[in-house]
Symmetry: C2
Subunit: 144 residues, 2 copies
Amino acid sequence: MKTSSETQIRQLLDARAEAIRAKDVDGVMTAYATDTVFYDALPPLRHVGASSARERVEAWLGGYVEGAPSVEIRDLTIAAGEDTGFCYYLYRVSGRLTTGTEVDMWVRATMCLQNAAGRWIITHQHDSVPFDAQTGAAVFDQAP
Amino acid sequence: MKTSSETQIRQLLDARAEAIRAKDVDGVMTAYATDTVFYDALPPLRHVGASSARERVEAWLGGYVEGAPSVEIRDLTIAAGEDTGFCYYLYRVSGRLTTGTEVDMWVRATMCLQNAAGRWIITHQHDSVPFDAQTGAAVFDQAP
């Protein structure tokens, strides 16, 4: 049971990665619970609900030029029981923004999932980068 | 079963909050898995293992003057099955550092837990603040 749940979550992540590559916002959002709570790397403190999270995903993918961003996942850990699971990983996001700025940074991600009627959905996501306590600046140059 | 798991996780969080108030590092660390992976609000990108997480907790609590920090938890959500669970919440941390600096900020927190031999332990924790994409500065003034 446990192994099967973890396999299903891995498939969800693969499908999500595919949707991100295709800039398919509907495809990305299909995995989210309606009442999902998303702590993003950018403000606000949190997005409550899938429509708020969707706006953020749309702005994120729309901010990059065609073919970008590139997302590389590292050190993925998945744990899941029958109806509750989580995973966490690091990802490197890189590519050129439509403003011309080049992005290349490592982000920490945690996803919490629940199985609703036989389907895993993301009820909570937390993405972030650390900040330097001395300068107050977000730290983008930390690589795993 | 589910309700009982969630109650146990709530008790773990209460005991942890009590240990933080007492600056009892051993008390805080008792809830962590040996191989816990901690994404903290400050660098590095991650702490792997309880001894690395412990150093961070020690530095955090030791950085405040006596009686501080004060930690206020808001909007806690807990979900748990028999052996896998998670929770997420916002917390306000405030107080004077030993350097004289006054801290008052809202942090997002996610904890992922597993039940090992009848006891819940934190296998992953993720704490962060968002950053401003324009300035690259961490954002401390967001309140829920």
